[in-house]
């Protein structure tokens, strides 16, 4: 009885194939006729569990770097309130993995508000590494991010987000 149990335990531990990454890149673009704004975060971390196709992302809001320090201050202080909501997370599942493309569904939390999203992107498994590249669009209103009328024409309602991360198998 005990031997069977032990085999069962070991087999489940091996089965969990976990891929980890800590220096992924997420950038976003706001495009309006007046101004284009872009910011980059190079400290994105993510985990993928190959046993059940679960995928999670996490980043610190204050790690986004803007070319203009004043914009960065407004982003942290007024829009994303990074002292109150220091990070953003995504937790979801790869639902459709076909060749090197995949569809991911899950919950995205920004500014303390969680929404269900679906994203498509390239999802390449090279044995020890998985590289993920995807684009998605985030509507500011969905996350209760309020833009004052005075700068309304400078900030897009829908922000384009670009994700690029490499995960390494965790042994």
């Amino acid at each position: 009885m005990n031997k069977i149990l032990l085999i069962l335990l070991i087999s489940t531990q091996i089965q969990a194939q976990i891929f980890l990454g800590n220096s992924g890149n997420i950038s976003f673009f706001s495009e309006t006729p007046i101004e284009n704004i872009t910011a980059v975060n190079d400290n994105v971390s993510a985990v993928f569990d190959a046993s059940n196709n679960d995928l999670v992302f996490q980043l610190n809001i204050s790690d986004f770097i803007f070319p203009n320090a004043l914009m960065q201050e407004h982003f942290n202080e007024n829009y994303l309130e990074s002292d109150k909501y220091p990070n953003s997370t995504f937790s979801g599942t790869v639902t459709n993995w076909d060749n090197d493309n995949a569809t991911v569904e899950g919950k995205l939390t920004i500014h303390g508000i969680t929404n269900k999203i679906t994203a498509n992107g390239s999802f390449v498994n090279n044995g020890d590494f998985i590289s993920i590249v995807a684009n998605l669009s985030v509507k500011l209103d969905d996350y209760n991010i309020k833009i004052p009328t005075i700068v309304m024409y400078k900030i897009a309602e829908n922000i384009k987000v670009h994700i690029d991360i490499k995960l390494k198998i965790n042994k």
């Binding site: 996490q58 320090a69 202080e77 002292d83 004052p148």
Partner: protein, 282 residues
């Protein structure tokens, strides 16, 4: 029963939400989280705040001060007089910034450097500490320089040294304590060295408007008054407008801390505003 416990312990992660378990693997490293944005601007009202200009950012300031409110309707309550200080501030590094400026009415050229020693850390170091040093040169007509009693430029130099301690107490309230030492190379009435204690605060009223106050208490000065200033910072997206009332008409540390003769309570109040524009140099 023991078998049951074995199951419970080894399979615990599987009873939890699998994704929450994965998120827990990502628990961030314990690097310190710095407290940022204690004040909106590099100045509280007239005096420096612990904020430094960010690296590679050049800020151009135009500061205006009008005459005293109690100067009567003939002078449109001070608006007929106006003086200006033009200045540039530049961030050499995230912890070091430098500036130059010139005040119109007192004809003072100033240069300063701000150096950040420590930053406030969430659940860690309690305050942000900055050292500010200013050197001021009062311009005089060249004919005075030929006066044999004068030591030339040397006589017209003065220095300010401050240690700024500030703490963000809540997300809306920041307080600052600023011990200040000022030295004049030449004074007509004694006291080359003067000490003051500065107190400042910022209370955010909305996300974009804050109320700032500043008080400089003179420790060994008999001629000059304590300086009280109240101002609003209004953020408009592109830049910050600062509107304020003070019993000092001056805009540079040496002058406003030690050359203030106005009495706030008697209506010697000067209205002023600052406009700034930032440029990114890279």
């Amino acid at each position: 029963m023991r078998v049951f416990f074995f199951f419970l312990i080894f399979y615990m992660p599987y009873f939890l939400n699998a994704q929450d378990y994965l998120l827990s693997l990502l628990a961030k490293d314990k690097s310190p989280v710095y407290v940022s944005y204690l004040f909106k601007g590099t100045k509280i009202v007239n005096g420096q705040s612990v904020e430094l200009q960010a690296k590679d950012i050049l800020q151009f300031n135009i500061q205006h001060r009008f005459g005293p409110l109690n100067s009567g309707a003939y002078n449109l309550y001070g608006l007929d007089f106006s003086q200006v200080r033009l200045s540039l501030e530049y961030g050499l590094n995230d912890w070091l910034s430098v500036g130059v400026g010139r005040s119109s009415s007192t004809k003072v050229i100033d240069a300063n450097s701000k150096f950040r020693l420590k930053r406030q850390i969430v659940n860690g170091f309690p305050v942000t500490i900055v050292i500010n040093s200013v050197i001021c040169l009062k311009q005089i007509p060249s004919s005075n320089l030929l006066n044999s009693n004068s030591n030339g430029v040397y006589d017209n130099l003065s220095y300010t040294h401050q240690i700024l301690f500030a703490r963000k107490i809540t997300r809306n309230l920041s307080l600052q304590f600023t011990p200040t030492f000022i030295h004049y190379n030449f004074v007509e009435i004694k006291n080359n060295d003067r000490f003051s204690l500065g107190f400042g605060g910022r209370q955010k009223l909305t996300r974009r408007i804050s109320l700032n106050t500043e008080f400089f208490y003179q420790l060994n000065e008999i001629i000059n008054k304590n300086v009280l200033s109240i101002g609003f910072d209004i953020e408009t997206g592109g830049h910050v407008f600062q509107l304020h009332l003070s019993n000092s008409p001056h805009m540079i540390d040496t002058d406003f801390i030690t050359n203030t003769t106005g009495n706030f309570l008697k209506g010697d109040i000067f209205f002023g505003f600052n406009i700034s524009r930032v440029f990114t140099l890279k």
